[in-house]
Amino acid sequence: MMQNIWKNERLFNVLVPVISAVLGMLAGAIIMVLGNYDPVVGFEALFNGMFGSPKAIGETIRAASPLILSGLAVGFAFKTGLFNIGVEGQLLVGWLASVWVGYAFDLPGVLHVIVSILAAAIAGGFWGMIPGYLKAKFKVHEVIVTIMLNYVALYVTADLIKRYLYAGNEKSYRIKETASLSSSFLSEITEGSRLHWGIAVAIIAAIIMWFILEKTAMGYELKSVGYNQHASMYAGMNVSKNVVLSMTISGAFAGIAGAMEGLGTFQNMTVLSSFTGTGFDGIAVALLGANNAFGIILSSLLFGGLNTAAPQMNFDANVPSELIKIIISLIIFFVASGYIIRVIAERFSKEGK
């Protein structure tokens, strides 16, 4: 019977992540015990913080919205064989662009939201296009350029806010009501969370990514370049064009992730002195979601939930936030290293014969 389980491929695929998650939680529990904290109370708080109340669910989804988009950004570039570490910077310029348009323009309701989101997409797309162009034209490695552009974005956005949009207390002006993604309806059904329509935008973006990659000739070319540049060139595809295009679209997704913060969660932008981390989390989200649009949504919910629940764990179980970060990292580490578990399990089942 036991051997049959390991032979059943479908069941196996389900079991591996289950085992990984259990291992992650066990490791987390051991660390909590070592640190003299009650793991039962700790995990109870973690669960409550993620899904324990309508408000927690709302906050989890809210936190997931920008993560989905930054995950899509990383995943999209990855499909074309590009590693976009610059999601953070593209997110920041998108955030600023959305707030700027949301604040400075006078447009009717829905249109204002759409224009603001488009502004974020264009700004992020432009920020992503720069490394794409440099890669295509001069073979400058995109990883280096995107990392550097993150810093440029961080300080340029801070300076622009200070110069043109500064309201006081290190914040920009607030966007107009018409540009806001926030919704009293969503907030009410989740008992006062900050859930906003951004989740709908994120899901639409995920569908768009899936559609581009799976259903269009453009997506086919992008993926083809990702698999094998030389073969694609031989087949008559324009590799340079595809590299620029991929980074631009990736940047646009990242820019919209910024709009989630600007038009949804905060309704303004702070003069940031350090990165938000959402762009970098996007890398982990994309890897965990196997660069697949649907997988990215799920892994974003996990990440968003863990991030949202961390303070709850601190609050209810007195586990210090540093320890929570370690535990979250371990859970993700084990879930992501499902391959190791698969190898070990296979060895065991062979020995059992």
Binding site: P17, V40, F51, K55, N169, F266, L302, S321, V335
Partner: protein, 365 residues
């Protein structure tokens, strides 16, 4: 196949959470032998992303809260506690957690939490909040007040006046400097108070003031300090947070080379920062802990100062010159005492803004 993996992982986390949650804890609340009023009083603190060991107002707030908790026999973690914010997005939920947890009063450490306090206070009208170092602001950036929010501000200009007097008394070159973090109404209070203090002692002393544009650029602090010392200033007062660390670095290097230069610290007693070269003349301390303690006590006694600004200054012992007075001369200490009395009696009204300072300077001549 991958999606299923993650789906399963998710549901497992859920399932495990439920099972573990069911085991639950039933420690119950044990509180005895405490003050009657304190028995049911719970007070919390939400830090900004700096955390309670930031050597600045997060830390100071927490110290005030600890003092309050210990004095009235509250239990840490139940009667009083803090929650550190890791991200800006956590401010509102963190404030909300205290409200949901039945806390009577929650402090928000720093003006960065201003809009978060406003939102949380509107959502949780049944509980009180106190915002440190700022008033609530509306969209046009005018002050607004909510009945369940106490806005705590400090009279930094008064403390700055006193260290200004010390600087004027002990400067040998007749030139002193001021380095501000970001040019804002708040830091202007430091600058104008300092200048007023200097000029009151000796109107002929020149004050060079400059802003670094950042609270977290020590290298910029160093370069500005270097320029000022080179121009002949021998004492620099900084109100520049982390940028000020660079001022200390520059002063230490110069002192090693035999130059007679000093730094006046800010917010806390920065004597340690000046060691081993001993460059800290004195510091302008801002006792956030005093304010946190006082507001907590008022709230416990049913006198929570909601819906208004609570100003903490010399009178409340919340600003002033630092405990460590090793480098302050006897005459300076005497002088500080005199000015302190005058300010307390209202004989001197220390200027906060540039306009007020201009008017103040005229009265000196």
């Amino acid at each position: 196949m991958k999606k299923r993996k993650i789906g399963m992982a998710l549901s497992l986390v859920l399932a495990a959470g439920t099972i573990l949650g069911a085991c639950g804890s039933n420690e119950g609340d044990k509180k005895e032998g405490t003050d009657k009023k304190a028995e049911n009083f719970k007070v919390g603190l939400v830090t900004d992303t700096g955390g309670v060991d930031d050597k600045s107002f997060n830390q100071s707030s927490w110290e005030g809260l600890k003092k309050f908790g210990k004095e009235f026999g509250l239990e840490e973690g139940k009667g009083y506690r803090y929650l550190q914010s890791e991200k800006e997005a956590e401010y509102i939920p963190n404030l909300g957690k205290f409200a949901d947890g039945g806390y009577n009063l929650t402090f928000a450490a720093g003006f960065l939490l201003e809009d978060a306090v406003q939102t949380a206070a509107e959502q949780n009208t049944g509980t009180n909040f106190a915002l440190i170092d700022s008033l609530l602001m509306n969209e046009k950036f005018e002050p607004v007040f909510l009945d369940n929010v106490a806005a705590v501000t400090f009279e930094e200009h008064q403390g700055s006046f006193l260290v200004g007097a010390v600087a004027a008394k002990q400067s040998k070159t007749g030139k002193v400097g001021f380095i501000g973090g970001v040019d804002s109404p708040l830091i202007k209070k430091f600058e104008n108070g300092f200048k007023a203090g200097v000029k009151s002692v000796n109107p002929d002393i020149e004050v060079i003031a400059q802003y670094a544009g950042d609270f977290n650029k020590p290298e910029k602090g160093s370069s500005i300090a270097s320029t000022m010392y080179t121009k002949g200033a021998d004492i620099i007062y900084h109100a520049a947070g982390g940028t000020g660390n660079g001022v200390f670095t520059e002063a230490k290097n110069r002192k090693k080379n035999g130059e007679d230069v000093w730094v006046i610290g800010v917010d806390r007693d920065q004597h340690e920062e000046g060691m081993p070269e001993n460059v800290t003349l004195t510091s302008m301390v801002k006792r956030v802990d005093v304010a946190v303690y006082e507001i907590s006590k008022m709230a416990m006694d049913g006198k929570f100062p909601g819906g208004k600004e609570s100003v903490f200054g010399l009178k409340e012992n919340a600003v002033g010159i630092a405990e460590t007075k090793d480098n302050v001369s006897k005459e300076s200490i005497e002088l500080v005492k005199q000015y302190q009395d005058k300010i307390l009696k209202g004989e001197i009204k220390v200027p906060k803004t540039d306009d007020e300072f201009a008017a103040f300077e005229k009265t000196l001549k």
